[in-house]
């Protein structure tokens, strides 16, 4: 079986089988990343362009490593947002890149839908590395991979996604993917950060963190964008941390052995207490490590190299 898609833009249209295929493909690359010589020739002669309109260290580096370990040629292209203001449309930028025979474009953009707009206009495969508040499919896939690696079956799995769900592309992608695989997703945060109609996507809404955590096996914390404080979404970081910060005591409300996840970068002492971030239940660094293997799997499947 292969992924019969030109692009990976969103997890909403993917089937459970397609998601499982990506996770299985990542398995073989996880083994590669554990070798002394961490490189296979699968994408030799292919060109991957990282087109990042928004600053990102983690995701860009992860894609870069993934592509390099597959022996692809990698170009990092980070147009300043001002060059876009100067007049070149996203599509023109991408067509220029395409003219240089890029096989895969990995796009990060601050606007929802940027990846879809791009994919319609170019023949290269497009991988969405985060578009506005819309989706961040590869992050959700590496989250799923990490959950699966811990031996947790998705069917009936109880997952709490905590924080600013309204402005989170990570939350949206995870809600789509987890629901498809049969997990029970809870979203919890202040009502100002829970978007309209989210329950129709398959999530149950909670405003009280303690209630939401009872009996869950996975706690997925979202990063609080500290600059949102001035926009009447929450009164103070202090109150946010008190109501929605994950402390050691709160972790105890979850099922024994529950894991704690975070897409990073973390705000220690805000959404997550330092002792939780560094505890045995935290899989935050596993997520980062798995990110490379999962992205190798995705690049491999998207390149049609199989």
């Amino acid at each position: 079986m292969s992924l019969k898609r030109k692009d990976l833009l969103s997890l909403a249209p993917l089937s459970a089988e397609e998601i499982t295929l990506i996770l299985q493909t990542a398995d073989s690359f996880k083994e590669v990343t554990g070798r002394e010589i961490k490189k296979v020739p699968a994408l030799r002669g292919r060109t991957v362009v990282n087109l990042f309109f928004e600053p990102s260290t983690r995701t860009r580096t992860s894609f870069e490593l993934a592509a390099k370990r597959l022996s692809a040629d990698v170009i990092n292209f980070s147009p300043s947002s001002s060059s876009v203001v100067k007049g070149e449309t996203l599509l023109d930028t991408a067509r220029n890149i395409e003219a240089m025979q890029a096989d895969i474009i990995v796009l990060r953009h601050s606007s929802a839908g940027a990846a879809e707009t791009l994919a319609r206009g170019v023949k290269s495969s497009v991988i969405n590395a985060g578009d506005g508040w819309h989706e961040h499919p590869t992050q959700a896939l590496l989250d799923l991979y990490t959950i699966r690696e811990r031996g947790l079956p998705f069917k009936g799995l109880r997952v709490a996604i905590v924080g600013d769900v309204a402005h989170s592309r990570v939350a949206r992608s995870n809600i789509h993917a987890l629901s498809k695989l049969g997990a029970e997703v809870r979203v919890v945060g202040p009502p100002t950060m829970i978007p309209k109609g989210i329950e129709k996507l398959g999530a149950t809404v909670f405003y009280n963190l303690d209630e939401a955590l009872r009996g869950v096996q996975v706690i997925m914390m979202l990063r609080l964008q500290l600059e949102r404080q001035g926009r009447a979404l929450f009164p103070t970081i202090r109150e946010y941390a008190r109501l929605y910060g994950l402390t050691g005591d709160r972790v105890k409300l979850a099922e024994a052995g529950a894991i704690v996840m975070h897409p990073g970068p973390i705000n220690r002492g805000v959404e997550i207490a330092p002792e939780v971030a560094d505890s045995l239940s935290s899989v935050i660094l596993d997520q980062v490590a798995n990110g490379v293997a999962v992205r190798m799997g995705i690049l491999y499947l998207m390149s049609g190299a199989n």
């Binding site: 449309t89 599509l91 929802a112 578009d131 819309h134 592309r169 949206r172 309209k196 129709k200 996507l201």
Partner: protein, 427 residues
Amino acid sequence: MAIVIQGGHILDPGRFNAVGDLVIDQGKILAIGQRVNIPAGATIYPAKGRLVVPGFVDLHVHFREPGFEYKETIQSGAASAVAGGFTTVCCMPNTNPVNDNQAITEFMLERGRAAGLANVLPIGAITKGSEGKELAEIGDLRRAGCVAISDDGKPVMNSLVMRRAMEYALAFDIPVVDHCEDLHLAEGGCMNEGLISTELGLPGIPAAAEDVMVARNVSLAELTGARLHLAHISTVGSVRMVREAKARGIKVTAEACPHHFTLTEEVVRGFNTLAKMNPPLRAWQDVQAIKEGLRDGTIDAIATDHAPHATQEKQQGFTEAPFGIVGLETALSLTLALVEEGILSLESAIEKLSAAPARAFGLAKGTLTAGADADVAIIDPQAHWEVDPGKFRSKSRNTPFAGWKVKGLVVKTIVGGRVVFEAPVPA
């Protein structure tokens, strides 16, 4: 030279609705009826099977001149208007510079005359630069030829300034037009707030952003006695409040746009920038409310909010792309679809495109009565056609209706007794 439009179905809403002849002379309607005298030497236009109606009046267009001539000029906008059967158009003041003074108003009028197509009537700004702070010279604007005042897409947020504008406007009996949107509540949103904005991760504009401003404006109209006209209303709440305000005798009129009674927010899926406009496409129940408002008379007029933008602007990402679509060349067909659907009678559909908007702004237009300006549209009501933006007279192509198969085509448009548009004969 006289013109006789012979044997068509003449529909002058509220006045005449039968097969007959329409005689035009000296730029005016000379006679309407079944047994009219045909002046010697008159040009005869046989109109059997055609619908002969007053030229349409659009209270809400953006012709972009001065300042954004790459999107549209008064010439190209007027050409688009007459191709859609519109003989009178009211131009919003969000040009660059803003139409907040006599010189710009006179310039627009002059360009309209030079184009020699539709009657181009400027709407002046409410405040200087449409900045919502100081009143523009409304007396001057009125004297120069503005038919209404509005800050359109930059609604006056300060309620005191709006109150003063409404009071001041009383002296000139000029309607005050508001684009009802609380900019704080809209907060940079780019589509209707709801399940779809949540799924797409796009910032939403709640219906309440419109509703609270409709409520404010209605209250201020009651307080001041001003003539309030609400632009492009799009929500259940707006329709309810306008209905209630009218019942209480407040001087308020309202318009709705074809896209708001034809499309829902579903069309945005796929990040379709041609479905991005402000107010945004709303939910199903809002569309139903707009139709009901049109049916029961709560909504007086159909206006296009014709908002041309260049292709490259609409090719940007959804959040960056500008709001708005062109509408002059599709409005008639979309309105006639409401007749097919049984929402409006043919007569009231035509009225909402002609006599009713003319009344809302107090324009001596929108009628075929003897002595009126000879502004006439001749329509083939049975013609089926496919919307092809490449054939638009407008400079811009930004429509979500490309490829739609629609019914009802303008075959001839007459302004001031002169034929200004004739549909090309299909090869």
